[in-house]
């Protein structure tokens, strides 16, 4: 399912990013987040140790995403896409907090019941994977509501950057 700007009310706070149209399949445009000099083109890019990791072509390709092409985008075009602040927080909580909560619950119970290191470790690992399954369900629910999809904001101006 793809989601466009029309499906959302205009949010007060949107995190913007740049993407390039890399393919058109019928009514769907495929976009790749722009390859930046650093992880996300942050203010500390010059002194950051991870530009090499952040700019790997494979990593960028893996983050390719679809968008309904109601704005007649063409291949090679640069666009500004955005997600709401709340969506980012929800995504982070779903992906990271839920598995951690499950792991600590399982580990706490194992420690209370048995108290040995190997059993606690096993329980925490099992809890972690159970948490991942729970976060998978939650993510599907969020995705179905269109809360995780970036939306098209505007065409990027020539030489427009995030800095």
């Amino acid at each position: 399912m793809t989601v466009t700007a029309d499906d959302f009310p205009a949010p007060a706070h949107t995190i913007e990013g740049y993407a390039r149209v890399v393919g058109i399949e019928g009514a769907v445009a495929w976009l790749e987040p722009e390859q930046t000099a650093s992880c996300g083109g942050c203010a500390a890019a010059a002194s950051c140790g991870s530009p090499g990791l952040g700019s790997l072509a494979g990593r960028i390709k893996a983050r390719r995403f679809p968008l309904d092409n109601r704005d007649a985008l063409i291949v090679g075009e640069r666009v500004v896409v955005g997600v709401t602040e709340r969506a980012l927080l929800k995504a982070a909580l779903t992906a990271f907090a839920l598995p951690m909560l499950a792991a600590f619950t399982a580990g706490g119970l194992a420690q209370w019941a048995d108290g040995s290191n190997p059993v606690t470790m096993g329980a925490m690992i099992a809890g972690l994977f159970a948490g991942f399954l729970a976060s998978r369900r939650m993510a599907h629910r969020l995705a179905a509501r269109g809360e995780l999809a970036p939306r098209f904001l505007r065409r990027a101006q020539q030489d427009e950057t995030c800095r």
């Binding site: 706070h13 995190i15 987040p33 650093s38 992880c39 996300g40 942050c42 203010a43 500390a44 890019a45 002194s47 950051c48 140790g49 991870s50 990791l53 952040g54 790997l56 990593r59 893996a62 983050r63 995403f65 997600v83 602040e85 709340r86 969506a87 980012l88 927080l89 995504a91 982070a92 909580l93 779903t94 992906a95 990271f96 907090a97 598995p99 951690m100 792991a103 600590f104 580990g107 706490g108 420690q111 290191n117 606690t120 470790m121 925490m124 690992i125 972690l128 991942f132 976060s135 998978r136 993510a139 599907h140 969020l142 995705a143 995780l148 999809a149 970036p150």
Partner: protein, 193 residues
Amino acid sequence: MKETVMMMIGAALVNNVILARFLGLCSFMGVTTRIDTAAGMGLATTFVITVSSMADWAVQRYLLEAYGLGFLRTVTFILVIASAVQFTEMVIRKVSPSLFQMLGIYLPLITTNCAVLGVALLLAENHMSFIAATLFAFASAAGYSLVMVIFAGLRERLALASVPRLFAGPPIAFIVAGLLAMAFMGFSGISTV
């Protein structure tokens, strides 16, 4: 129980990873321009620090200590951390491609975050039980996230304030970071762990 709580408070507030141990400063300055990105990065780092500490504890106890390979600790931990980040990335990609699209940007940053290695090395020196080590790592990471969010909030307000041109940008951010570190010194004395 009381010792565990004090240990966690000590790790999060008194010996804060960023403001007392000065680890993870790259992301502290780089990802704190907005509260939401700081919170996202904080949660991702908390997850990776906790998971990699669990793995590091097992490697330290059952491999390095057992076979007298303590001199390989740093290089082994780096390998474990990189693997933990890759594992996290792989799992999130499988669990939900939508989440991966949104959060994948944070994960490569964490690989080179020295706070992760710093916490793992601290754990190795302290000889804790598995659950205590994991809670210590979690509390350290929670302290890291807390400072990231506080600092991001301050920087968002600074962006709206009229700052003299000479201090605008990074200079005022460094001054605020210094003031925040001094404020956190107020927690010293609560716990010494």
